[in-house]
């Protein structure tokens, strides 16, 4: 810790008087391991990992939790949250989670998937897991791109967006349209809570955490599949600085992928709004 630079100026309290255990308001949860995350600076993946870890700790469910890591940048999620994990094949996390949850009905099982993983190669598995109302949480990181493989087009890539495989921008004649898969998921009677969040501001992170908490509680209460999309940045893939990526996301992604709850119900009931 480098304290020299944070000494308060005269007239206010000394910094050392503030840095006391009784004044602690925010710190790294013990559910996050000491392994430094491999993500690019400013990547949304780290924020979502953190709030998941905080919730697993706060809700006291570490012993019941099994995470399913995807193929994608989050493949190493298992190095960061101190729970049991399994690494799934590309797109198959919902089937893997189904297997875990079906033979362990008391477990809290979640998948953590990117947009290529969930909306492209794994489109069938996610639809059917949600349609069966598997008692799992799905965390869906929509960064509009294939981060891990070097920034190719994802189903969610915006029209006109430049990626490694759409060097002149996504052309809808050639590639079809950006997919709002979460809206489709909300139509499935197996889902209970379906929401779209973002973590580019402190307010967004806090909201997203509340949404994830509700989603986890729904799984614990066996209400069906809970699905939380997080509109995210991939500043490396987008070729922007982290702060600029947050701005770009706000101006371009969020208008197409508007934030908010799409469904809040229990499985078997239709109550989309």
């Amino acid at each position: 810790m480098e304290l020299k630079e944070v000494t308060k100026t005269e007239g206010t309290m000394d910094i050392q008087d503030i840095l006391k255990p009784e004044n602690l308001v925010y710190q790294k949860t013990k559910l996050l391991t000491d392994t430094p995350m491999h993500y690019c600076p400013g990547c949304s993946h780290g924020v979502v990992h953190k709030i998941l870890a905080e919730l697993i700790d706060e809700m006291g469910i570490q012993e019941r939790s099994v995470g399913v890591a995807p193929v994608g940048c989050a493949v190493f999620a298992y190095n960061y949250i101190d729970i049991d994990w399994q690494e799934a094949a590309h797109g198959r996390a919902p089937a893997v989670a189904t297997g875990i949850a079906r033979v362990n009905p008391d477990a809290f099982v979640f998948t953590y998937q990117g947009d290529g993983d969930l909306a492209s190669i794994g489109a069938a598995e996610i639809m059917h897991a949600c349609n069966r109302g598997e008692n799992i949480l799905v965390v869906f990181i929509n960064n509009g791109i294939y981060g891990m493989t070097g920034g190719q087009m994802a189903p969610t890539t915006l029209e006109g967006m430049v990626t490694a495989t759409t060097p002149y921008g996504r052309n809808t004649d050639l590639n079809g349209y950006p997919m709002r898969i979460t809206n489709l998921i909300a139509q499935l009677p197996g889902t209970s809570y379906v929401t779209r969040q973002a973590v580019h501001t402190a307010g967004g992170v806090r909201k997203c955490k509340r949404a994830l908490k509700k989603a986890i509680q729904n799984v614990l209460d066996k209400k069906g599949t809970s699905f939380v999309e997080v509109v995210s940045t991939c500043n490396s893939g987008w070729k922007l600085s982290p702060v600029a990526a947050n701005k770009w996301m706000e101006e371009n992604m969020i208008p197409y992928y508007p934030l908010g709850d799409m469904k809040d119900s229990v499985k078997g009931e239709h109550s989309e709004n």
Partner: protein
């Protein structure tokens, strides 16, 4: 009247210098240091510590969870 004051501690070795915390701070407390850490990143630090209110926005948005936040009331 008691004024809320805060302070943060940045784990400068873990910081990746992404500047997201700098952008998220409502009181312009933070900045990236001109020096770099052992990984070569310009780490975040309290440039204007007197302005910190301990709102924890910086800690909450940090993807690498490098910021610890403290808050109290000034007498």
């Amino acid at each position: 009247m008691a004024r809320v004051i805060g302070a943060v501690v940045v784990d400068k070795e873990e910081c990746k210098g992404c500047s997201v915390c700098v952008d998220a701070c409502p009181h312009d407390v933070l900045a990236l240091h001109f020096e770099v850490n052992s990984k070569g990143y310009h780490y975040s630090y309290m440039k204007s510590p007197e302005a910190c209110v301990g709102c924890a926005n910086c800690g909450v948005v940090c993807p690498d969870t490098c910021i610890t936040v403290y808050r109290t009331k000034a007498s």
